[in-house]
Amino acid sequence: MLTLTCPCCGISAEETELAPGGEAHLKRFGPGSSDDEFESYLFARKNPKGVHFERWRHAYGCGKWFLAARDTVTLEVFGTYKAQTPYPTPEIVAAIQAKRPDWKPDWHQPSVNTTTTPAESLTE
């Protein structure tokens, strides 16, 4: 059974305690966006065979949303992290690369230092 550690309450939660929420870090396109952008935001999914970032909710626990990095082939969990971040954190990237040296992030991160700062300021 899949076990994820909730970064909000620290509990190691079994799959039956958790509700899956699909792909993480989607960029939202709303009113004013093009049809293609809106369609791709709503429907197009990476659905990768390998490293995947996804949303989970600790539904039968603290109730908070969080994010997890997982391998969809080996079902290995690389780590979990707070939902309030626009990209996977440097610690998560390091944890993945420690086990998958060939894996590279496919997002363009503005700068390593600023990734978590705005999100942290939202919650604290």
């Binding site: 899956p20 293609d36 429907f43 999914r45 995947h52 997982r70 079902l75």
Partner: protein, 423 residues
Amino acid sequence: MSASPSNSTGKYSVFAIAREAMRLHTGWKKAWTSPEPKKKYQVVIVGAGGHGLATAYYLGKNFGITDIAIIEKGWLGGGNTGRNTTIIRSNYLQDPSAAIYDKALKLYENLSQDLNYNIMFSPRGLLMLAQTEHEIRGYKRTVYANQLQDVTTEWVTPHQIKEMLPIINIDGPRYPVLGGLYQPRGGTARHDAVAWGYARACSAMGMDIIQNCEVTGVETANGQVRAVNTAKGRIECDKLAMIVAGNSSVLAEMAGFRLPIESLALQALVSEPIKPCCDLVIMANTVHGYLSQSDKGEMVIGGGTDGFNNYSQRGSWHHVEETVRALVETFPMLSRLKMLRQWGGIVDMTGDRSPILSTTPVGGIFVNCGWGTGGFKAIPGSGWAMAELVANGRPGALAAEFGLNRFKEGRFIDESVAAGVAH
């Protein structure tokens, strides 16, 4: 692995059996050949499961296109075609679904004769149990829709169900049986035989079935497909059909586009064989369980999907537990059965629970995917419609509503009520 003449497969008949009995069965030929790939084909189909093989078969039969390679990364029919619970039915809610699933059912009815291969089609009747008030309303609505679609289904009462199926407990405290949606023409078929029968027929038409040959890349130029790179080298093609179920997103990424698909694990299990006790196919969607008895006597049980992306062909244990727990209440006699085997397959889920048969952003590439938890029943209809799409470059009436553009245009074919769980 050398190529042998494509006409090596003789016709199967009672006379062939008698002839072979006389010579100690030394004359049977391989049902299909295993050639090395040629440099170029008119059509390359990725995926030698039921849908891929059926597409190839109807391309040959209906359109005379036989310069086809069917490429498979594993063994023929070893994905979801060999992992499902073999249920065949066409009692869907929406008109486009009823059309393609009923086309499939009609083709299944004569498929053994058509392929000269016994697929053991058994139209024993299919019953979907209503166990909540919501399901009563949902299934009655489906009965009315089916009447308009010329698909014969009927609403049956708990009393009738008990008569049809004495092993059922209709007044369970948690999951009482409140009625059911019955399709007399529904049933099962031998899943492997469907793949083998199509493969034999394709091979006899001169098509190349290439197993153990994973696709590693898709070559395009000026928005047009050129070739696929495989474990057995580069193969050029004019047209490429991707029919790979749970691996659709992976192949689409090789070709440079994304699909509205999530790959999830779906599980099934079979019991030890017992004497005949259940001559219907039963689906209980509230509890995510479905049940039929195989010819060998095993109870074949299907469960629900996991909630997270998975390519491992292994599912979560608690889903099996939930399914069995609920089925035991509805069928108390099952509680004494030992389960022999349990397995998982990777299903390709779309948001509206309807398939995708479509052109793609790349010229010459066509996709057939998104059958999710219910692809087996659709194999002949899917192949028929896909062959039309690949041959003409545009969908015919059966596939027209199932294009990728329906997501952009908001024209969903919502089957999440009629078939939202495993089916």
